[in-house]
Amino acid sequence: MQAWRQFVAIVRKDLVVEFRTREILLTMALFSMLLVIVFAFAFLSDPTRARDYGPGIIWVTVLFASTIGQNRLFDRERENGCLWSLLLSPTGAGTIFLAKATTQFLFTVLMELPTLLLILVFFDLAVVRPGAFVGALLLGTIALSLVGTLFSAMLMNARMKEVLLPLVTYPLLVPVVIAGVKVTSVAVGAPVAEDPELWLRFLLGFDMIFAVATWFLFGRMIRA
C-alpha cells in the first residue's frame, strides 16, 4: 500500500509539473506532427501504396517522438538535485522506476493519439483489425517506455545524452519496431502474409523480459 502511494505520488508529480510547464508533451507532439507532414509530402505522390508504408511511418514517428520524451524524462530530477530526494527517501528504486516508466508511457500515449489520427487521415488508412492495431501500439509503447526510462536515467548526467540515448536504445528497440510494423500492416489491411498473433506474443514476451530486467537494473545503475 505504501509503495502504491509512493508510485502514484511520483506519477502525479510528473503530470502536475508537465501540465504546468508543457515542456515534454508539447515538444513531442509538435515534433511528431512535423514528421507526419514531412512524410506526407514525401510519400503522398502514390496514395495507392499508403497501406505499404503507413505502418512504417507510424512506428518511426512514435520511436523518434518518444525519444524526445525519454531525453527529458529525468530533467525534473536533475534540477535542484531532486533525484537524491527520491533515492534518499524510503521509496524503493523499483517503485521509482515503475513510476517514471509509467509517466513516460502516458506521455507517449498522449502524443500518439493526435499523431495517429493525423496519419490515418493524411494517408487515408482504414484500421480493419482494431484489436491488433491497439494491442501492437500499447505493447510497443510499453517496450519503448521501459527501455527508454532505464537508459534515460543512466545517461541523465552524461554529456551529449541527446546523441547517446538513441545510440544505446535503438539497437535494443529494433525488434519492437519490426514487430510493431508487422502487426500494424495486418491491422491496416496491407497485403502481407504475417501472423499478427505471433508478433503480438513476441511484443508481450519482450515487455515481460524487459520489465523484469530494467526494474532489476535500475537501482544499480541509478546509484552508480
Binding site: 511520483i10 502536475v16 534540477e79 538535485g81 531532486c82 527520491l86 534518499l88 527517501s89
Partner: protein, 237 residues
C-alpha cells in the same frame, strides 16, 4: 520519529576522489539529543562527510552504522530515519510549497495530512505563499521550503550542509531555534557551518575537520565554538 533513540556512528570512514583522499579514517559517534557542528575550512571534507553519513556517497573504506533503539538499521529503515538538506535543496521548483510537502510526506511513507502540512507551512513561515511554485521563491524562501521537507519527513536524523545559506538574520535565528527544538525533542542533528555564533548558540558538540581528518572533537557552546574556531585559525586548541 522522535521518541526513538538513534545513534549514528562513522567508523574509520575513507573517501577517495581520484588520488586525493577527501576523508581519512574519520570516526565519530553521535546520538539522539546531539547537535553536532561540523567545522572546517573550505575543502576540509565537511560536505563529503555529511554526504557519506546521509548515504548520498558510499565510503571507500570504513562504514557508517545507524542504530535505532539499539538495533542496527539497514536499507529502507536507514533512509526513513535520515533526512538531508544539502546545498542543492532537493525540492521541485515547479511544484508549489504545499505540493512539495505533500509529495515528500508520501515518499517518507506517510499519508499526506493536510492539517500537518498546513501546520508545517505555518512553522516555516510560508503559509501565505503555500500555493506559489517554489521557482518564484527567493533563495531564503526556498531554503525554508526545503526545511519543511525535513519537518514532514519524520526522520530521526537531520543532516544539514550550511543550512543558513540564503537566510536573512531573522531567518537565521529562526532556523537555529528550530534546530534546537528538534534536538530537545530527541532528534540528532548534524550541520556544517562557517559561523562561530551559530555554533555557539545551538551546538552540543563541535567536530573540526582538516584535510579530511578529524582534528578536534570537542564540546559545543560558546567555549567549544571558540576552541574550534581557534583550532581552525591555526592557533592553540
Amino acid at each position: 520519529m522522535p521518541g526513538r533513540t538513534v545513534e549514528l556512528r562513522a567508523e574509520r570512514v575513507v573517501r577517495v576522489a581520484g588520488r586525493r583522499h577527501i576523508l581519512r579514517d574519520v570516526s565519530l559517534a553521535a546520538a539522539s539529543g546531539d547537535l553536532v557542528a561540523v567545522l572546517g575550512r573550505n575543502g576540509a571534507g565537511k560536505t563529503t562527510l555529511l554526504s557519506v553519513l546521509a548515504g548520498r556517497q558510499v565510503p571507500d573504506g570504513g562504514r557508517v552504522v545507524l542504530t535505532i533503539d539499539g538495533r542496527i538499521a539497514s536499507g529502507t529503515a536507514v533512509r526513513a530515519a535520515t533526512a538531508m538538506l544539502p546545498h542543492d535543496l532537493l525540492i521541485y521548483p515547479d511544484l508549489t510549497a504545499r505540493e512539495n510537502l505533500a509529495f515528500f510526506m508520501t515518499l517518507a511513507g506517510q499519508a499526506p495530512d493536510a492539517g500537518q502540512i498546513a501546520s508545517v507551512l505555518d512553522r516555516i513561515g510560508l503559509a501565505r505563499d503555500a500555493d506559489r511554485v517554489v521557482r518564484q521563491f527567493s533563495r531564503g524562501m526556498q531554503q525554508r521550503a526545503a526545511l519543511g521537507r525535513l519537518l514532514v519527513s519524520g526522520a530521526d536524523v537531520w543532516i544539514l550542509d550550511e543550512p543558513t545559506t540564503g537566510l536573512d538574520e531573522v531567518g537565521r535565528r529562526w532556523l537555529l531555534g528550530l534546530l534546537s527544538d528538534q534536538v530537545r525533542s530527541g532528534r540528532l542533528v548534524l550541520m556544517s557551518s562557517h559561523h562561530p555564533s551559530e555554533v555557539a548558540s545551538c551546538a552540543t558538540r563541535t567536530l573540526v575537520l582538516e584535510s579530511g581528518r578529524v582534528v578536534l572533537d570537542g564540546p559545543g557552546g560558546a567555549d567549544g565554538a571558540a576552541a574550534a574556531f581557534t583550532r581552525m585559525d591555526g592557533g592553540a586548541p
